[in-house]
Symmetry: C2
C-alpha cells in the first residue's frame, strides 16, 4: 500500500486560466469594497514599484541587485553578485504576486514584463536544471555546501510557488517547466537513496512549494521529496550541525561561531516530536504549513497531531492579539508561553502571513472556525497594518506599544520603528504582503464533503461543485464596518449540500436567515460553524447579521504584560490609541471600567474608518508636584479616549501608540 | 594667581594610622548594628574569599589569573597573561578594601597577605615606573597605544586608590611609593607639553584617583594631571577616535568596527559642555566624581555647573527608585530621560557605587541633603541588594521586576538574572561592594565652615575639630528599622559650632530635641538640613525622631513604565513583592488605592527585617474561562499583599519579584 493511498490527486495538468485562481477544486474572485482597495493598491502600486525596485530603478533607494544577478548569471552582462544570499527570492515573490494579479485581471503589459523576467530566469538556469544566481555567479562549485545559511532550497521554493501561480493565471508553462527541471534536479541531489544528501534547508519553504507543485502536476515524487525534507529535519546525527562542523564552524555571514542553535530553524528534534513553537517564527510557520499539507495528503496521523499541538501552543500561548507571532527580535523568534511583551515585540509581518498560510492548511485538514478566527485576526491587524496607505512603506516589526524616542534611544527597542520604512534592504515583508493580498481569494472558502465552509466574510464570487451540482455563491459583505453578509446561492439546479457559516469569536448573538426566514437559535454550532444543510434552489439568499459592537478584550492572567489592561475590538479589528488623538504620554490614559463605547464612521480618517470613543481617565500632568518620585499621587481627571483601528496606526506622523490600555 | 589658589592642601604627608580612616580632616569609625553585620561580612568572608579567588584557589571557579599575571610580570614564574585586559584592577580593589578593613581593625595575618601582594606588585613594576601586567607580559612595546579599550590608566587609578587607603590605614608607604612612581611616569607621558600624549583613558578612574593622591601628598602635579585628563576629554580632534583610526579601526576585543561611539565613554563633547548623562554609566559617574572633586579644589565654576547639570539630569530623569542607573545592557548605559524600564533594566551595582562616590563629592562641594538622599537610596537598595546574605553571590544587574523564565528564555532579558551569581569572570562589582562597605565611615559626615553635616544615620564615632575645639560625636541609630537617632556631642570644652541634621526626603514630621528639650517646628531647613548652631557643652545629647511609616511612592507621569503603579518605601528602604510571599503570577496582584499598611519586624526573615502587609486585590486565576484572549474579565478578589525590603530579594530561591505595583 502506497503511503499516498487515499489522497485525491490530479494526475494531469489541467490548467484553469479563466482569470480566476484555482483552489481546492473551486474558483473564487474577490469583489469587496474594503479589500478591493488594497488589492488594487497591490496591483497599481506595489507590483509596479517592486518591478522598478528589482531593476534598481527606484531613485534614492539602495539597489536590489536582484534582476542584475540574473542577468550576470545568464551571461547577459558582467558584474558581481549583489544583495543577500537569498536575493533571488525577491524576483520569485514578484512573479508569484504578478501571477495572482493576472488571475484577477489580465494585463498585457504586466504579463510582458513577467514573461521577460521568466525568459531571463530560464537563461540563468544551469544545464543540469540548477537555478540560483548566488552560487552560479559568486560561489560556483559550492552548491549545497551550506544549507544552514544559504537559502538555495528556499529560493527554489519561492520560484516553484511563482511558477504554479503564473501557470494557473496565464496557462503559460515556461516558468513551470524551468522549476520542474529544478525540482527534478533537487530530487536527484536530496533523498533517502544511497549517495544523496540527507539534508534540508536552513529556511523552510521548499516543503510547502513542493506540495503546490504536486497538487498542480500530480507528480508523486514532489510530494515524496517534500515529505523527505520534513522527515529528515531534526534527525540525529543532525545534518545541519554536521555541515557546520565540517565547514569549520564558520557561518555564511562571516566569522566563526562556537554555538549553533538548532531550534532556530526547528531542526533541534524531529518534526513529529515538536510540541512547542520555537525558533525563527517565519521558518516555523512555513514548516507547519507544509506539515499540515502533508498530514492531509498522506493521512499521516503523527504529523496531524504535531500540527494540532504546535497550532495550539502558538495561538493559545504565543500569539499577540493582532495575530502577530515572535516575541523577540533576537533570531526573530518565539520565546516561551505567555511571554508577549508589547514594546520589545517582533511580530514580523512575514510571520503573520505564514500563520495565515498555516491556518488555511489547517482549515483544509479539519473544518474548525478557530483556524479561521486566527487567520482573520492576523489578516485584519498585523498584516494589513504592516502596509502604509501609500503601499510603499512597511513595518517589518509590528509593535503593540510604541514610544518613538525609545525606538531611537534605547538599543533594546531599536528594531521597533515608529514609522513605516521604505522597501529596501532585506525586503522580505513587502512582496509577501503583495502575494498574500493578491491571492486573498484562496482564503475565503474551504470544502469538506458536500459542505462549503465560509471562513472569511469578503465580497466574492465562488464557482464550485457541491452535491453534484455546479454552484455559484455570490458573497457580499460590509465588513469590517458593518456585520451584514449576504450569500446568494445559485446551484445550476436544485441540490442538497451544506453551507457552513463561520460564527466569528468576536461576534455577539448572530442571526441567520434563509430567504428572509430567520433560522432558530444557533445552539449547536459544528466546530464554530452554523451549518445549513438543505436542498438549495437557484437564487436562495442567506443573510448573516453579526452584531458589531465595540467591546473589551482581556488577556490570560499568565500574560503578564497585559495584566490589568484591556484591548478594544470591533468586529475583527483590534483598536489602538495614538497620540494624534490622545495627548502624550499615553501612559497617563486609562479606560473606565464600566464606561460604554460609542462608535462612528469617520469618512475623513485615512480612507474612512469606524472610530471608537470611550470614557476614561487621565493623569493631569500639571498636577504633579514632585520630582522623579513623590509621595503625592498626581490628580486624575475624566477624559474621552479615542481609539482607531490598529491597522491604520502610524499614518499620521510619528507618535506614541498602544493597544493594551489600563482599566 | 595659581588656578589652585584658595584650596586647602596638606603639603606634607601626615599619615593617620590610628586605625581610623581619614576623610576631610575628621575621622570616623562605624559602630552600627545594621551595617556592622555587612562590614563584618566583608571582613570575614568577602576579603578572604576574594584573596583566594585572586590566587586561583576557589574550587569550581574560573581562575582569576590576577596574581599569576603579577608573578609572571615580576619574573617569579613563566606563563601567559590570563583574564581581561583590566585584570590588574581586581588586585588593586582587594588591596583598597583590605586597607579600609585594616583601618577598622588591624589584623596581622591580613596585613601580611597584603604586604606580600604589595611586594609582588613592586616587583612587577618596570624600571621607569610603569605598572601593568597586560602590557608587560602580553604586549610589551604596545603601551599607551589603545587607551580606548585597554584600561592602563584605569588600572593605575585603582592602584593609586589602594595605595592611599593602605597608607592611611597602616602608615606603610611601599605601595604609595610604587604608585607615586607610576603617577610620575604617567605625568611624563601625558600632558599639554610638546611631545606628550594628549590622550585620556577609555574608562575614567585615574582622574578621581589622582585627586586622592593629591589630597594625601599635596603634590599639585597630580591635581594638574587629573584636570588635564578631564579637560582633554571630548576635545576635537578627538584623541580616542584618531587613535582608533590609526589602529585601523580595530578594537582590542577583536575585529574591525565601522563605528565608534564616543558618547560611550563620555568623550563625545568636552566635559564642561555635557548636560545629559549618556553612555556607559560607571564611566560616567567615575568621571563626574573627579569633576566634582576638581570643581571644589580648583574653584572652577564651569566644572561645578556641569556637575550640577549632570547630577540633576541623572537623578531627576534617569535614576531608578532603588538608586540604580543605566537603563540598558547595550553598553551598560544610560538611554534617555524617563526611560526606566523595570525588566530590561541594567542598574549595575558598580554604577550605583559610583553614584555614591559622586554624591559624596557633591556633598563636599555644597551641603545639600538631596545628594545625601540619593546616596542613601543607592546604598540601602541597589548596592546592598546586590550582595547575597552569604557575601559570596552578587547581582551585577539589579532589576526592579523579574520573571525568571524570561531571564532564560527571552534573549532581551538574559542579562537579568533571577539569582545572584558567583564571583567570577568580569568581577568588577563584588570588590567594589567590598571597598564601599569597608569605607562606609567616609560617607556619614561632611563639614563646611564650622558645621558638621550628618548625611547618613549610621552608628559611629567621629573625632574632628569644630569651632576650634576638638569634638567627639557619637551617633547611635536604629535605622533602617526604627527612626531613632542619637548624637552625643562631646567637645573637649564648650564651643560654638553647628550640627546639621539631614531631614530625609522619606520622613514625615521630624522631631528633634537637645538634652531632652524639643526644638521648635522645623520650618526653615537649610538645603534640607536642620542646622543647630549653639554653644555645645560636653555630653550634649541630640535626639532625632524620624517617623518611619511605610508609605507609597509614585513616579513622574513621564516615566511611562510606572504609570498607574506605586512603590512601597519604609524609611530609606524600597520594598518589593516576591513570589515567596505572594503567589505567581505577581502581575495578578494590585494594591488597594486607599488601603493602609501594617508593618512588623520579622526576626526570622533573613537576619530580621520589617515586613509590610497591605490590602490588595488579585485576579482569581481559576475564574479565567477564556483562552489566550477573552471578552470576559477574570474575577478579582481581596488579598493581603506582603512586601519585603528590596535588598533582601532573591534570597529564598528563584521566583518573580517586582517593585512597582499597580494600584
Amino acid at each position: 500500500m502506497s503511503q499516498f493511498e487515499g489522497t485525491k490527486v490530479r494526475t494531469t495538468v489541467q490548467p484553469d486560466h479563466s482569470g480566476h485562481s484555482d483552489q481546492g477544486g473551486h474558483r473564487v474572485s474577490v469583489q469587496d469594497e474594503f479589500w478591493g482597495r488594497y488589492i488594487r493598491l497591490v496591483q497599481e502600486t506595489v507590483i509596479p514599484y517592486q518591478y522598478e525596485a528589482l531593476h534598481d530603478r527606484v531613485a534614492g533607494a539602495e539597489p536590489s541587485h536582484a534582476i542584475a544577478n540574473f542577468e550576470i548569471a545568464a551571461g547577459r552582462r558582467q558584474g558581481k553578485f549583489g544583495g543577500m544570499v537569498f536575493q533571488d527570492s525577491d524576483v520569485a515573490k514578484w512573479l508569484e504576486a504578478t501571477g495572482y494579479s493576472l488571475s484577477i485581471r489580465r494585463d498585457p503589459e504586466l504579463e510582458r514584463q513577467a514573461d521577460e523576467v521568466i525568459d531571463l530566469v530560464g537563461e540563468a538556469q544551469q544545464a543540469d536544471g540548477y537555478l540560483n544566481t548566488y552560487f552560479t555567479v559568486k560561489e560556483p562549485g559550492k552548491r549545497w555546501t551550506n544549507l544552514q545559511d544559504c537559502h538555495e532550497l528556499y529560493c527554489a521554493g519561492h520560484f516553484i510557488e511563482a511558477a504554479v501561480a503564473y501557470y494557473e493565471a496565464t496557462g503559460k508553462d515556461k516558468l513551470l517547466s524551468i522549476m520542474r527541471r529544478m525540482a527534478d534536479h533537487i530530487d536527484s541531489v536530496f533523498g533517502p537513496e544511497e549517495g544523496k544528501l540527507k539534508g534540508y534547508d536552513g529556511h523552510q519553504e521548499i516543503e510547502l512549494a513542493l506540495v503546490k507543485l504536486y497538487r498542480l502536476t500530480g507528480e508523486e515524487k514532489y510530494l515524496k521529496l517534500s515529505l523527505f525534507f520534513i522527515d529528515q529535519r531534526g534527525q540525529e546525527p543532525n545534518f545541519l550541525r554536521q555541515e557546520w562542523e565540517s565547514r569549520g564552524r564558520v557561518t555564511h555571514w562571516g566569522g566563526q561561531t562556537d554555538h549553533i542553535d538548532m531550534a532556530y530553524n526547528q531542526s533541534h528534534i524531529p518534526v513529529r516530536e515538536q510540541t512547542v513553537a520555537v525558533g525563527h517564527s517565519v521558518r516555523a510557520v512555513y514548516m507547519y504549513t507544509a506539515m499540515a499539507d502533508l498530514a492531509r495528503l498522506t493521512g499521516d496521523e503523527a504529523l496531524r497531531e504535531a500540527c494540532l499541538r504546535l497550532w495550539s501552543n502558538m495561538t493559545e500561548r504565543q500569539m499577540y492579539i493582532t495575530g502577530g507571532i515572535g516575541s523577540t527580535h533576537h533570531g526573530e523568534a518565539f520565546t516561551f508561553d505567555y511571554d508577549l511583551p508589547n514594546d520589545t515585540v517582533y511580530a514580523e509581518t512575514c510571520a503573520s502571513i505564514g500563520l495565515i498560510f498555516f491556518a488555511r492548511r489547517m482549515l483544509e485538514l479539519t473544518p474548525n472556525a478557530h483556524y479561521a478566527d486566527v487567520m482573520e485576526r492576523a489578516l485584519y491587524n498585523n498584516v494589513l497594518g504592516s502596509m502604509a496607505q501609500d503601499g510603499k512603506h512597511y513595518f517589518y516589526v509590528n509593535p503593540l506599544e510604541v514610544w518613538p524616542q525609545a525606538c531611537t534611544c534605547n538599543p533594546g527597542k531599536q528594531h521597533v520603528k515608529a514609522q513605516r520604512q521604505g522597501w529596501f534592504g532585506c525586503a522580505c515583508c513587502p512582496p509577501n504582503v503583495a502575494r498574500l493580498l493578491s491571492s486573498l481569494n484562496q482564503y475565503i472558502y474551504t470544502e469538506h464533503s458536500d459542505t462549503l465552509y465560509t471562513n472569511l466574510y469578503i465580497g466574492s464570487e465562488l464557482r464550485t461543485t457541491l452535491g453534484g451540482k455546479e454552484v455559484k455563491v455570490t458573497q457580499s459583505s460590509k465588513l469590517p464596518w458593518e456585520g451584514i453578509v449576504t450569500l446568494k446561492v445559485d446551484p445550476a439546479e436544485a441540490g442538497v449540500f451544506g453551507i457552513a457559516l463561520r460564527i466569528p469569536s468576536w461576534s455577539g448573538k448572530v442571526r441567520i436567515s434563509v430567504n428572509g426566514e430567520l433560522l432558530p437559535a444557533l445552539d449547536a454550532l459544528e466546530q464554530g460553524y452554523a451549518v445549513i444543510r438543505r436542498e438549495w434552489q437557484p437564487g436562495d439568499i442567506v443573510e448573516l447579521m453579526l452584531p458589531m459592537e465595540a467591546h473589551r478584550v482581556y488577556a490570560h492572567p499568565e500574560l503578564r504584560a497585559n495584566a490589568g489592561k484591556t484591548a478594544i475590538q470591533y468586529g475583527p479589528l483590534v483598536y489602538c490609541l495614538e497620540s494624534a488623538d490622545n495627548r502624550e504620554p499615553l501612559s497617563s490614559v486609562s479606560l473606565s471600567k464600566e464606561g460604554t463605547f460609542t462608535e462612528f464612521y469617520d469618512e475623513d480618517l485615512l480612507g474612512g474608518a469606524v472610530v471608537i470613543r470611550a470614557a476614561g481617565c487621565r493623569v493631569k500632568e500639571q498636577s504633579w508636584s514632585g520630582g522623579l518620585y513623590s509621595t503625592t499621587r498626581a490628580v486624575v481627571q475624566p477624559v474621552e479616549v479615542t481609539a482607531i483601528p490598529y491597522y491604520l496606526w502610524g499614518n499620521r506622523g510619528s507618535g506614541e501608540m498602544k493597544v493594551w490600555i489600563p482599566e
